[in-house]
Symmetry: C3
């Protein structure tokens, strides 16, 4: 694997999930495959889970890790072509990426959107230029459009917590009884947040649905439609009550409008998930990528109940990252 940015970089969902669950079963089973290899983690934005889980995954494989916080430890990067660099940006990504690539065997990059220009953000310009110039395998640590380590984690968690068996002959996970119903449910927030997590979750769930793993439904207020690129095949409704009916997994997440780009159109607290709303579900497990603002995005009563699997979910970040790094170290042609 030369790049981990979207589902397109994954040949088989079941294969990468299986690799991840094997890592969880036996974290140090491949502790020498990363020997003498260095992972560079480049953060243009803050990070807790991604930072720690990816470091841990790399060390479990014997890799060296170098973390660089560009904002506080480095400087601002220019990504545009052909501009006279007489402003705030001290280095062009052409040089920065190439140099980091020469020091590292695998690179990870986090770069949040500014939420000003849809076109600029959705080009994921910085990530792709980084990928192009660093000349090394690269993984997204979240970009404007996607957070694939999170979404792989989410799928692993659903497979793990749902009822599936692994068909070794076909190399596929198969639901034991029926496909679980997975609902992505928009939630209110005071700030404008990127669409990366819901885009990415939707992309992975649509593919999981196509591969017979889940039934996927999205629910959000009007005006919060995600880019169709990520929701092809998903059932979409503005009726949360209907969406939650018989749900097995409810994935809660706020995002700002894609259409009216980066805007907060609603702070309607009725969209916050409560225990009462969960009564209509199939005793659903509740997921969130974290950090989560309690009693704004998700009620404490839900987070503190047995419905919540957010901590187990976050814990799986390690195994998602370890599976991706394992692929990059072993199949990097």
């Amino acid at each position: 694997m030369k790049q981990f940015f979207s589902t397109n970089d994954i040949v088989s969902l079941s294969h990468i999930i299986k690799t991840a669950l094997e890592c969880k079963e036996n974290p140090f089973g491949n502790e020498y495959i990363g020997k003498h290899k260095t992972l560079g983690l480049i953060f243009l934005n803050p990070s807790l889970r991604t930072r720690m889980s990816t470091q841990k995954a790399a060390r479990n494989l014997g890799m060296e890790v170098m973390v660089l916080n560009m904002g506080t430890e480095g400087w601002a990067l220019e990504t545009r072509e052909g501009v006279v660099m007489d402003g705030a940006n001290a280095e062009h990504i052409k040089e920065a990426a190439a140099v980091m690539g020469s020091y590292c065997d695998v690179l990870g990059v986090r770069s949040f959107p500014k939420l000003d220009s849809k076109e600029e953000d959705y080009s994921d310009d910085l990530f792709f230029k980084f990928a192009n110039y660093c000349k090394k395998p690269i993984l997204s640590l979240e970009t404007a459009t996607r957070h694939p380590l999170q979404s792989l984690t989410d799928l692993i968690t659903i497979i793990e917590q749902g009822e599936y068996f692994y068909d070794a002959e076909k190399g596929n996970y198969i639901p034991k009884v029926r496909k679980p119903k997975v609902v992505l449910s928009w939630a209110p927030h005071v700030k404008a947040l990127p669409q990366a997590v819901p885009n990415s979750f939707s992309e992975w769930m649509c593919r999981a649905e196509a591969e017979g793993l889940v039934d996927f439904v999205i629910t959000h207020p009007e005006g919060y439609e995600l880019d169709e690129e990520f929701t092809k095949g998903a059932a979409i409704t503005t009726n949360q009550v209907e969406a939650l009916k018989d749900a097995d997994f409810v994935y809660v997440k706020n995002w700002s409008s894609y259409e009216d780009y980066g805007k907060v159109l609603s702070m309607d607290s009725n969209w916050m998930l409560t225990l009462e709303k969960l009564e209509a579900t199939n005793n659903a497990k509740v997921m969130h990528c974290l950090p989560v603002r309690r009693d704004l995005v998700l009620s404490s009563e839900v987070l503190d109940s047995d419905h919540s699997i957010v901590i187990e979910q976050a814990g799986n970040r390690v195994w998602a990252a370890q599976a991706v790094l394992t692929e990059m170290l072993t199949h990097n042609k």
Copy 2:
């Protein structure tokens, strides 16, 4: 050891001191007991000695170390129950601590007091919630009320530099001739500093006195009385000259008022320790936890004299941390 926060977490002072001095004698004698274990160091405030010495100690034991500076690399944590999180805090400690706990085998947390509210600070709310939610052994890297790695270091240094023999049968250090007189002497400062270091030093010295290791005296201007919880059994005087008489160790430290909470009541430079004042001592060794402001808190003439053991003391931070981590790795039930 599941927690290292106060002397109450230590069964035997002599045992932990002996472990530390064995680590100093042979730093890599247990370099495999931390293999495949990860220490997470979470800093809500700056750190030099604690940061470096604890990292070093962990690596000496073969542990992986992940450092997270919450302020610059992460975000602000909410610790209150039942509040709608629509303000500046992006994540609740319930989730943050649980997730970090799932990535790490041992956690260390530093959180300074704000010096606004005595009740809030002295609850050490963040540390205890962290300890509760992370579900892993946890060590204080300094909280509002205590700095136990510093105080253990201080005691190790006194045992090492004083005249003691180790009674292997009883498992105790015993003064060869007489118990050294240890004086905690308040010093002036321009800023309001926490009471954590003097509280903690006092707590450890009171216990060391109870176990026959030292004679302990505290001296400070009126209004600087520490919380009695930490000074039970100590002799306390506002007469510095009297306190210093025949002292073997003088521990210099500024702190703000506990009574008139967080206030600077005196900047009287007469309280600064000088060579002249040391003449009345028993050629006392001078200690300070560092960082120290020269010629404000402690005179350069003292720091540059043979009286000062502040560098040796700071060096012992490694062995205190290594002893605590050794306990956590070997007796963590």
Copy 3:
């Protein structure tokens, strides 16, 4: 080697270059000589290449690495003697350096000049006090006057990319045909930059010229003369066209005035290197220490052409650091 600050710390240029190129050939050939040794990297200023390449070099030798960003993770240091420390500086370098020295086996320090006072900057006070008080081998990660890891890298790159053979009997590199002509060419910039890189490059090239390795020429506008300490023996001209004639290597760099200290006297874009100007050279290879501002300091057409070796040059930072650390670990008396 107890110190790496200037060419004076190097016995033989050819020996250290050979060590570096052997490290490049076989990065893990000495992966145990740093076992149980710790490198402390202390940054008072941002860093990308120095930070990553020096970490990598140390890990290639089996050393532990601890990074400390004094600005965000620590606090401001006092370097003056005999001042009452009642201002912004929380710790004196006497204590800070001594303590870091007690935790580490080798230290690296980066400290940029303020460009206010020539005398203050050029004393490199902080570095030398650090070196004095830490009592451990110390390497400059760039100071006010020099950037020796960069300059060693530059020389390695010239030897590697030029035509030289190694005379094993004499222990010297010798030009195969003739000494390449190396030109240091001033370039415009919008900000006032230190003289450290050009000083240091000039110092190393003057010595390389004295040892028969290169012909060295400096060209800059009037008023940009470097301190003569660094340029002894160099040909200096304000005629860039003349300087570039038949050049084999052109080292491009901006710096502020030394004479009119820290001032920007010219932003003349005619001094920017272009492909047209390179026509008069001997198909010169173009070097820059990076970060470089495109189309301000150096034209994109040059950076994107085969003339540019800036990425290979930056890559060699690892081997320069690894050679220096190898010397420090093996000959540190």
